[in-house]
């Protein structure tokens, strides 16, 4: 298909229209309006970097970034340990391995909003009842403090996403040549040693893939945040994605929210580009 060919452009027209009208034009439009006093409909003056300077001095926004970063670091570590652990479990020759894959993966299919509501019930009612039964006071009032709210979000995300990361690790684990494991066995390597010297180095690429995937996932989380804690108490568990939505649609501060959205884009883009960079480097190594 040549460029000049009518068919070439006709095949591309729908997606070009879609991407331009939905992503590219709004993106450029938003970038421009973040430098003005735009109210969603019109802008009266150009403010330069005023919105940007303001957001770096706003505690709520900086707190949401800090909270998101902490959340991302903890979930990335946890998800990779859990994902690899589950993958190792279900790639063993056990009878229930297909059933278990289905079970571990299931939460992924149900939207984050609904899962957040289910866990709201668990953290409030179930944890409360368990606290009464066992006398463990610490289980009371989850979601009502910043710290336990943080761990509530981590638990929810880990439970939801571990099955997804498991799938990635399974794909790599199943590609390890059986002969290598056999050879190590014959050489007398125990199962821990086999894992350390054969399995782990060979699934290391899966770690690169899933680490950055989980990282960008953690940065963009919104639904779970909304339905589990709604940012509370006092906006202390509010992540960046939610902060932007609130600034825009609750405070109606469009230009300012858009400036935050641009910063958000820069953060996510840096993470994603780092991912591409590492993947490329890995390809060269192979």
């Amino acid at each position: 298909m040549r460029n000049r060919s009518f068919a070439f452009w006709l095949f591309l027209t729908p997606v070009i229209l879609g991407l331009s009208l939905v992503v590219i034009i709004p993106f450029i439009y938003g970038l421009f309006y973040s430098f003005t006093d735009w109210n969603g409909l019109s802008a009266t003056q150009f403010l330069g970097f005023e919105n940007y300077i303001k957001l770096f001095h706003e505690n709520e926004f900086m707190d949401s970034i800090w909270f998101t970063v902490k959340f991302a670091v903890v979930t990335v570590i946890l998800l990779n340990i859990m994902g690899l652990g589950l993958a190792l479990l279900v790639t063993r020759n056990i009878k229930s391995n297909n059933l278990l894959r289905t079970v571990f993966f299931m939460p992924n299919l149900i939207g984050g909003l609904i899962l957040g509501f289910i866990w709201q019930f668990i953290f409030i009612s179930v944890f409360g009842d368990v606290a009464n039964l066992t006398g463990i006071e610490g289980l009371n009032g989850w979601l009502s403090t910043t710290n336990t709210g943080f761990w509530g979000l981590v638990i929810l995300t880990a439970w939801q996403m571990a099955g997804y990361i498991m799938i990635i690790y399974i794909a790599y684990l199943e590609n390890i040549p059986k002969e290598l494991i056999e050879a190590a066995k014959i050489d007398g390597a125990g199962s821990f040693q086999r894992f350390k010297t054969v399995t782990f180095p060979l699934v290391a690429p899966a770690f690169t893939v899933s680490m950055f995937l989980t990282l960008s996932m953690a940065f963009k989380i919104y639904d779970q945040n909304l339905s589990l804690t709604n940012g509370g108490p006092y906006n202390s568990t509010q992540m960046v994605a939610m902060e932007i939505v609130k600034t825009a649609f609750s405070d109606n501060d469009m230009a300012y929210a858009q400036a935050k959205a641009v910063i958000f884009f820069l953060i996510v883009a840096v993470i994603a580009l780092t991912q591409v960079y590492y993947n490329k480097k890995r390809e060269v190594d192979l």
Partner: protein, 274 residues
């Protein structure tokens, strides 16, 4: 001796797996069990079984969720979005993969690069533009899903095209087929496995999406997640109804998963590893 030890090892791994599996589904168990309880039962304890089964909870939740209406909205919006994403992305993936020019490379790069942009970064202007064009409705939403979904889909189709031999194109052209006939009758059927993957990845995302419908749709046209949000707000202190509603809302997903678990897991694996 060694065989026995291995066997015992496997049994303990199996037991560990089953325990973990039970922990994994515990939240769903707690949701369903308590959805059957009366308000008083829940107050008395959430861990035990219900004293009597309250089917009324489900009836009321079903009515308040306007479940058939929300299900219909979800099915229509997800179904139509997936159809146009598959249709237009496969065409684009084909055109870009078969054209090795600079222009085509640049277009492909733009599509892939657009994946870097998180939703929140375009959300406000998007709503503003579509609002001014009077397109904040179901049709507008489906078009938005095309815009957000086409990048990854084109990327996957583009990759899959390397498995479709170019000689097929030549043979069909010699036989007098035009580009459309060639694509629809020969190339598209060969892309079926990747179409399944593209479909699954997009269904999971679109079916569950909350934020975008919340900005675009009115409550009358709400999809299941959006309706669930309103419903839950109404029943915050009444867990028996809220849980019955949540249970109803996930039933379609569980049914879908039951019938297509293999394709779903394979589809996700394919999408994730690429």
């Amino acid at each position: 001796m060694k065989k026995n030890k291995e066997k015992r090892n496997l049994i303990s791994i199996e037991i560990l797996g089953l325990i973990l599996g039970l922990i994994w589904i515990a939240p769903f168990y707690l949701m369903i069990v308590n959805a059957f309880k009366s308000k008083r039962d829940i107050f008395n304890g959430v861990l035990g079984l219900p004293g009597s089964l309250q089917f009324d909870n489900f009836v009321q939740a079903f009515i308040d969720l306007q479940f058939l209406q929300s299900l219909f909205n979800s099915v229509m919006i997800t179904g139509l979005s997936i159809a146009i994403i598959i249709l237009f992305s496969s065409m684009a993936g084909y055109a870009l993969a078969r054209n090795k020019s600079k222009t085509s490379g640049v277009i492909f790069f733009i599509f892939v690069a657009a994946m870097l942009i998180p939703f929140q970064s375009v959300m406000i202007p998007l709503v503003s533009i579509f609002g001014q064009a009077d397109m904040l409705n179901g049709a507008g939403l489906i078009f938005m899903y095309l815009g957000f979904g086409c990048s990854l889909s084109i990327f996957l189709y583009h990759g899959a095209m390397s498995g479709v031999s170019k000689s097929l194109d030549e043979a069909a052209i010699i036989d007098g087929a035009n580009r459309f006939q060639l694509f629809w009758h020969i190339v598209f059927p060969l892309l079926k496995p990747i179409s399944v993957t593209v479909g699954i990845l997009n269904v999971i995302w679109i079916w569950n999406d909350y934020l975008l419908p919340s900005l675009v749709l009115s409550e009358a046209n709400a999809t299941i997640p959006l309706k669930m949000f309103f419903f839950f707000g109404q029943y915050t202190k009444q867990w028996h109804l809220a849980l019955a509603g949540l249970t109803i809302a996930i039933i379609p997903v569980i049914i879908g998963y039951f019938f297509a678990q293999k394709q779903i897991i394979n589809g996700v694996a394919e999408g994730a590893v690429k």
